[in-house]
Subunit: 250 residues, 2 copies
Amino acid sequence: MSEGNSGESKPRAGRTADGRRQLRGALAVAALDLFAAKGYESTTVEDIVAAVGVGRRTFFRHFRSKEEVVFPDHDERLAGVVRELEQAGESEPPMAVVCRTAETVLDMYLADPEVSLKRFELTRQVPSLRDREIVSIDRYQRVFARYLRQRFSEPPDAELRAAVTAATVVATHNHVLRRWLKSGGGFDARAALREALHEVTAEDTRVSSPESAADTGEVVVGVVRTSTSVHAVREQVERVLREIGENDSD
Amino acid sequence: MSEGNSGESKPRAGRTADGRRQLRGALAVAALDLFAAKGYESTTVEDIVAAVGVGRRTFFRHFRSKEEVVFPDHDERLAGVVRELEQAGESEPPMAVVCRTAETVLDMYLADPEVSLKRFELTRQVPSLRDREIVSIDRYQRVFARYLRQRFSEPPDAELRAAVTAATVVATHNHVLRRWLKSGGGFDARAALREALHEVTAEDTRVSSPESAADTGEVVVGVVRTSTSVHAVREQVERVLREIGENDSD
DNA sequence: GATGCTAGCGGCACTGAGTGCCATCAGCAA
DNA sequence: TTGCTGATGGCACTCAGTGCCGCTAGCATC
């Protein structure tokens, strides 16, 4: 395995843009193979470029760091998420947009289970890669929060609600993804995410005042402490229903 | 400022355990000063140890990395959080424990505003430090989630609920902390966090069925779609109130 | 007060990631 | 053929982090 890598003989790397992508892919594959064989820490960039047959300097022209070779398309994916959020119309409820986008992110993992599982195994064993993953997840969360902040721009709590909602959606996504990865990709994660998001976001799509709830046609959630008496609860609920009735055509 | 650091002349570093802590502190202070003056990237470990007057090797005996000198007590703090969670009794509602612990974490920042603000400025400007901060925040979230998973161990969704709840609490904490830091430490963050947690966790402590809600004495949240008619809403609410009334002493 | 033990310290050498610089060469157009 | 451009290769360099060894301050023991 010292010279002449698997399969094609590569007399010289092509200088075309397509050759560049191929080389990038070859580097990523070789890196993952070596990481799996020798371990991440014990594999030097020198080893990787030797396996592909290119110079060390070239590696860092394709990847900003040794860690990035494990997540070669994270930037691209994040950009895709930003695009999807930007292209969403004003008519669609913000929550629906974010949930849909979260499903898109999940799909990215589901699209190539083999690679996803390999990466998962690596990130579980290598602390620095785990940290890297955490950071990139946080990027998604920030993007979600930023989007929701724009869309929520009504009450003074918009920022808090956006942050919490983004955290909720991302945590739910991660939970489902993690279960899927741990199971070795053996169940319908897409459906599971959809269900979980439905369950979880039902709490968060609440609006503070019943009036705006009736206006937006969203979901209204009445919150009461059970320590208060049933009479008091009934009185509160009656008042809310009266207020809703004033704005409702029915 | 090339030799003889501020204040005490240090003829030779003491070998005692107390001297060790003093040296650690001196290194941290010198590092933060240099980072503020020259920038993080432009400051080498060599510079830091030169300012204190110790060897380069000594720095890495006190801090695992150059980044860690910015967050010298994160491990300690996390351990404190774990301890606080472990010491919480079974009688206290899990949510209350987590919220209380989140307030403890906030207090750690509020305890030394000067240092917190200095760190904030650094983490805002230096990407690698920002990443580090994100990772350490995630550690808190994981600890919270683990605790809640144990306490929630009833329904099949315990894991999801624990993850989402932890994410919610942490996001709320971060939101308040961030506002406090951005304001330069100019308002009562403790009260703000308490209020925000109250507002935010009210949604998450919901229980699925009204019966169990009445039993636990927690909070019950009724969810209705405003697209349904007011009559239907009223009917639903009346039924819930009846069910609660059967278990309520009032 | 001399002796030995231990814990930190200093320094040296080394690995390896990441960068700047420059020469080189493939590909393409004129 | 000539010139331009973009990707590469290689070299040298900085700097974080580690292993190793010798040293010494502090402390206990005799």
